[in-house]
Symmetry: C2
Subunit: 329 residues, 2 copies
DNA sequence: GTGAAAGCGCTAACAA
DNA sequence: TTGTTAGCGCTTTCAC
């Protein structure tokens, strides 16, 4: 591990000159530049990023905060983010909140400690008031989550419209008793989605049955559990719009076990268009979301923010979604 | 953002003293310690990690290199690693190789640039000779991959035994024409696994049919494709031990489409015990691997290495695996 | 118990 | 076009 001093000494120049070739500063004679470059090569010189960070106050690192990396949705989001970051010369640090406010907040301390240049939030566990003060330490971008008032870039898709499309499709195909699954009540994205559900119902003059709103639905297991519950409901829905494909897969599997015909007895629509949609029997109708692109766009936006240095502004980017019909409807 | 100087000035002490309380050095009077702590609190002082890194040559960061984070296996591995790292006061940087040697090598430059203290390799794309020189820059730990000679800690499980268990089970249940899927030929872990397959065959005096070895099997899609291929084989196997649950799920789905009865016409065993095993029809018999624990152990090992500062040694830790029988066999 | 001062590796303002 | 020099924020000898 040699330093810029070594190189300078070896080349008979000052550290400034070496630093200049490192940063492609124009004022270096071609001759010296070549020589220095060559010596660097020979010595296997690699600049210390710690020193650079200390000087420049830039870490070239972005943190991504998600509830859990092994949820297929977030795994894909991270895939996009991590790839794009690396492409742009940044590193990505992964933070998991496990759906806990405290862990989210703790992760965000990285911003305060200047260990990362910015944070991409793939979900939002805390109230915005708790997050907001951290903006003083660096930009925050919301990916896949929504907030009414936060003055930061929000990269997502039209949750309301996506939900509307799904529910409308169910109604068009003759369903009248449509259930809705969500994960957490607190997520504004989920509320938007619910609004789409409600709008579709009222567009077709269908009344809302509160019993058909099912919360805490995240995983395949939750799908199993939920189906157990629905199976014994006196007034069960004949279709369900789930919040994600995992839950849909769980529902379907368990329903088949109970002897349901799907979609005849119960139609099901998922969300995310994960691979799992193609291997269940029946396959799952779902909403396709450009997740990887969502991650990439978030990074691009973040880097732009970092470079322009201008104040954070509210901005709402919505990527297109698509209803993909399969056997479960 | 205030510095140690500010705090020192405000408290009428030297920076040394402030630094001492920061590092819980004993020689500070209780009185001053309290005062300093309080002022830090008031000023919302947070130490600059860049400066600390520059001084101490420690980044408190570990890199994890995997082919792709959205593969369920690696997603879970990262979950374990990322969680354990954070618990221990380390950060985890995610590197994706996309199965390319060049990207793996590029990621490993982080070690050289001293941007991370160590690297956990969740797979191995390069020849070991290409990786080895990097050991001069920091420890490398192999998680879930195997190498014959590398003098580094290897945390995994007995691939050979796991494969043996699976194939033996198939043979015990009357199968004689057993196929084997793997992803890449170059992985030594895969070779171990293949050895288990071979050993089980010969233990029961079954000959090896080279046509029943199927490579490049990573995803659900690959499972589909593979089944298309098997379907038209003149001499098709009556059971397949796949390298992962995704492939198993794809095989099953496609086989059912072709009118196969599973397991009667074709028995299938997966690998990893992912959630997907429970939602396919039929459900998937598989090998359970403690993936999250594997990740955690790797981090623990890495941190120990980092702290002890003693030279890297070859070490081979094997976690237990288990055959989980379901409907596909 | 406490502080002065050097230095980790790099960059940039200023001078030449 | 090139070099001198002063820090970035922190830790750690060494001296008191």
């Amino acid at each position: 591990m040699c330093t810029i001093y070594e190189i300078a000494r070896l080349c008979g120049v000052s550290t400034t000159t070496v630093s200049r070739v490192l940063n492609q500063h124009p004022y270096v004679s071609e001759e010296k530049r070549q020589h220095i470059l060559q010596v660097m090569e020979e010595m296997e010189y690699t600049p210390s990023s710690a020193a650079r960070t200390l000087r420049s106050h830039q870490t070239k690192t972005i943190a991504v905060s998600v509830p859990a990396v092994d949820h297929p949705f977030f795994a894909q989001l991270i895939k996009g983010i991590s790839k794009e970051a690396l492409d742009q010369g940044y590193k990505a640090i992964v933070l998991q909140t496990f759906y806990k406010e405290s862990l989210e907040l703790e992760g965000l301390q990285l911003l305060k400690r200047k260990e990362v240049d910015g944070v991409i939030l793939g979900a939002l566990e805390n109230k915005w008031e708790n997050i907001k003060p951290l903006l003083a330490n660096g930009p925050i971008v919301l990916a896949n989550e929504y907030h009414q008032t936060a003055d930061i870039p929000i990269i997502g898709y039209d949750e309301r419209e996506a939900a509307y499309k799904a529910v409308d499709y169910l109604i068009q195909s003759g369903r009248k008793a449509i259930g809705f699954c969500f994960d957490t009540e607190s997520s504004e994205a989920q509320q938007q989605r619910r609004q789409g559900y409600l709008d579709a119902l009222s567009a077709h003059s269908l009344p809302l049955n509160e019993d058909w709103l099912f919360g805490e639905a995240f995983t395949i297991e939750d799908g199993f559990r939920l189906m157990d519950f629905i199976h014994v409901m006196p007034d069960a829905p004949d279709a369900i719009f789930t919040g994600n494909d995992q839950v849909a897969a769980g529902l379907i599997k368990q329903a088949i076990l109970y002897g349901y015909q799907i979609p005849e007895d119960l139609a099901i629509i998922g969300y995310d268009n994960q691979d799992i949609c193609e291997v269940t029997a029946p396959t799952i109708t779902t909403i396709d979301i450009p997740i990887v692109e969502l991650g990439q766009r978030s990074v691009q936006h973040m880097i732009q923010l970092l470079q322009e240095q201008k104040p954070l502004q509210r901005e709402h980017i919505q990527l297109p979604t698509e209803l993909v019909t399969r056997e479960s409807t």
